[in-house]
């Protein structure tokens, strides 16, 4: 939630041409609760559905609530004073840190030294700790528990203890056209996708307190805590656009494995990796996002249509074995462009069998 001062300064400054130096830094306050619970999801089948329940340790911003899979998205603007109070409402000790993605170069991408915004701090069960810092350069950041549970030998991140923080250029806020960084690529709308994968055996072991020594094999996949038809139809995740829009997607992979996201309909320009601005701007229709890595993509919406986005592995377009669920989103460039029309080349009404 943005403070009143931020809203005033944004509305007074308004246009994108105002220099960042004239903006007024605000104070942003967040409260996060580390929590743990068994959570249930309903997975649709062809003619029925089934429920899966699994153990999650993670973050919420509502006291007493179970953790939100993929965490709570935090936002701030460069130069803001950010105060985050973290309550550990679990039964175990957890650490907390906030940083950019992994510094190691990823594929053709180039990297730089790690930026640590909040150094790791240990918070005992039942305790809380307040962190205060000045919002760093615009980009995608990652807060998480970097520690490993000694009893089960499972990294706490593997069962969900992470989330994203997005920092906007000075004077700019979420929810309006902007630039990924001051003078950087512009967009008409920006979206953040926090990717989550779970191996249900790991979630079980963490709940039982038993050692997990097998190779991690993901069985559940989420974008922003949702999957399948839910993430496809959530406008917070899946852009509903007009032709001519420019959409920025900030991918934050909090999971344990890389996710090759395949984009139908458009190639995306990979402009930033772990907040390192790329000189070599790859245009990709499959983007392999390693764990603990952030990647910023820009899409030029140059044609109408309904174009799905999904992890291209069979494992992650199923949810515990059910297709087509898991890590799926879509670009909807039909809803604002006249809707679906029978036999339309761009926005057809789907049919079984060839269109007549």
């Amino acid at each position: 939630m943005q403070p009143v001062l931020k809203l005033m300064s944004a509305s007074l400054l308004g246009l994108a041409s105002i220099a960042s130096s004239s903006s007024i830094a605000a104070t942003v306050n967040y409260t996060l609760y580390m929590t743990e619970a068994k959570e249930s999801i309903t997975i649709p089948l062809y003619s029925s559905s089934y429920i899966r329940t699994f153990w999650v340790e993670g973050f919420t911003d509502v006291s007493g609530s179970p953790p939100h899979v993929s965490g709570i998205k935090l936002t701030a603007s460069e130069g803001d004073t950010v105060n985050i109070t973290v309550y550990n409402n679990t039964t175990k000790t957890h650490d907390f840190t906030l940083r950019n993605g992994l510094a190691a170069p990823v594929g053709p991408a180039v990297g730089t030294p790690t930026v640590t915004v909040v150094p790791a701090a240990t918070i005992a069960a039942g305790a809380s700790q307040a962190f205060s810092f000045t919002a760093p350069s615009a980009g995608s950041y990652f807060y998480y528990d970097p520690s490993t549970d000694t009893k089960t030998t499972i990294p706490n991140r593997a069962v969900g203890m992470y989330g994203a923080m997005i920092v906007y250029p000075a004077g700019k806020t979420a929810g309006s056209p902007g630039n990924l960084w001051t003078g950087g690529p512009g967009y008409t709308a920006d979206f953040t996708w926090v990717l989550t994968d779970f191996d249900k055996r790991v979630n079980d072991a963490k709940w039982l307190g038993t050692v997990f020594s097998s190779t991690y094999k993901a069985t559940y996949a989420f974008i922003n805590g949702e999957f399948g038809g839910h993430s496809m139809k959530n406008a917070e995740t899946s852009p509903v656009s007009n032709v001519g829009d420019t959409v920025a997607i900030r991918v934050v992979n909090g999971g344990m494995i890389s996710h090759p996201l395949h984009f139908h309909g458009y190639h995306g320009e990979l402009v930033s990796v772990n907040n390192v601005r790329q000189n070599r701007v790859l245009e990709k229709d499959v983007l392999d996002v390693p764990p603990m890595t952030t990647m910023d993509l820009v899409f030029h919406i140059n044609q109408k249509g309904i174009y799905i986005v999904h992890d291209h592995t069979g494992m992650m377009v199923t949810q515990d074995g059910v297709y087509a669920e898991g890590m799926i989103a879509e670009f909807d460039v039909c809803k604002k462009e006249g809707g679906l029309i029978a036999n339309d080349p761009y926005c057809p009404i789907p049919t079984i069998g060839v269109p007549r």
Partner: protein, 383 residues
């Protein structure tokens, strides 16, 4: 509709053609309508089980150059042992108007015809086609068994692409429903370049399609055991035992000779060896139609790396922020994920036998899967 015919390219093409004194028949000056067709059929293939070491027969659903002889109805119809596996690489040119007929001639399915996963499609992966031609069953339509559909698209820039069925992809890709697509530059002066304007002219080119088969997943589809309406966990453990490295030699000058669309055609996978001339520049395209990341390295007989330049990926040349070409030079490995493609330029400095190695990587450990046995090699003869 988006204009797929760029005007500046038109002028450039006319100029270069005039300078060369000949107008090639596939010049960009005149957009060409290319008509091609594939059937979906099935056959038994032999694949080595990397874990047991045994050669096993498994059923593949595979695309094949169209043949009028394939017939059947319902769940009845003959296997075709002559069909290629994987499916052919489809070669087009930039700015072609493609009309691509898909005949579903496979008695693969036994689902009721009103089931959303009853048929098949062709997804033109990476070609950024319209929704209706995108082959995604849920957003367009399915081609039911023993019916046909002619997909239409205008090709854009040259590059490496793939195609696959996008109906219950987890099963249908495991059954082998995939192949490659190459869009070559339109202009004949770019005949041996991977994209228009590339400074690299290649002597030979190959497309290598790599994939895996997880037998238990595959057999669910082969046995028509879909589990649509029951609680199940078929696809939670992907432990492939069978690995595929399909080698397609691509010589566009030999394609479509004597037809109205020279330079286009279908290329089946080859069991002949891979060979290059010493000191020449060559293009190797790699495309991943499996679910694991694949890592390619090339070494000489002494085990030393042969470096290559990565000049394009996903059908797009590598460029910098100013749009200048920016290949990744002197790479010793490329790791490519499910659905990704990379174009590699490689020169072999001396004659001899070289080895291309593809490692099929476990998602978690990033080491070869199947207990380290997820590795295939391809011998390369250089003379």
């Amino acid at each position: 509709m988006k204009n797929v015919f760029s005007s500046h390219k038109l002028v450039l093409s006319v100029l270069t053609s005039a300078l060369l004194g000949s107008v090639p028949s596939w010049s960009a000056v005149t957009p060409v309508t290319v008509k091609q067709a594939v059937d979906l059929t099935y056959r038994s293939i032999s694949l080595k089980n990397a874990v047991s070491g045994a050669t096993e027969s498994i059923t593949a659903w595979t695309f094949s150059p169209a043949s009028g002889s394939r017939s059947g109805s319902g769940t009845g119809g003959s296997a075709d042992a002559s069909a290629p596996f994987p499916g052919p690489v489809l070669v087009f040119r930039e700015k072609d108007m493609v009309e691509y007929t898909f005949n579903d001639k496979c008695p693969c399915e036994s689902r009721p015809s009103d089931h959303p996963y009853a048929g098949h499609t062709i997804h033109l992966h990476g070609l950024d086609v319209t929704t209706q031609q995108d082959g995604v069953a849920e957003t367009s339509f399915t081609v039911l068994p023993w019916s046909s559909y002619t997909y239409k698209m205008g090709t854009r820039e040259a590059g490496s692409f793939v195609y696959h069925c996008h109906v219950h992809t987890v099963l249908h890709q495991q059954m082998g429903m995939y192949g490659g697509i190459i869009v070559m530059p339109a202009d004949s002066v770019d005949q041996n370049k991977s994209f228009t304007g590339s400074p690299n002219t290649f002597a030979k080119q190959y497309y290598w399609i790599t994939a895996e088969v997880e037998k238990s997943w595959h057999d669910k589809a082969a046995n028509r055991d879909y589990g649509d309406s029951v609680e199940f966990s078929y696809f939670t453990q992907y432990n492939p035992q069978h690995f595929i490295l399909a080698n397609y030699p691509i010589d566009p000058a030999a394609l479509g000779v004597g037809t109205t669309t020279p330079g286009r055609g279908l290329v089946n996978p080859s069991t002949a060896g891979v060979s290059f001339a010493v000191g020449t520049k060559n293009l190797i395209r790699v495309g991943n139609l499996g679910y694991l990341n694949h890592r390619l390295t090339i070494t000489n007989s002494a085990g030393a790396s042969v470096p290559f330049d990565v000049i394009a990926t996903d059908g797009k040349p590598m460029r910098d922020v100013n749009k200048n070409l920016a290949p990744l030079t002197a790479q010793t490995k490329v790791e490519y994920a499910a659905g990704e493609r990379y174009d590699l330029m490689v020169t072999f400095p001396t004659a001899g036998t070289y080895t291309a190695k593809v490692e099929y990587l476990d998602p978690s450990t990033k080491t070869p899967t199947a207990g380290g046995k997820g590795v295939l090699t391809q011998a390369i003869t250089v003379q």
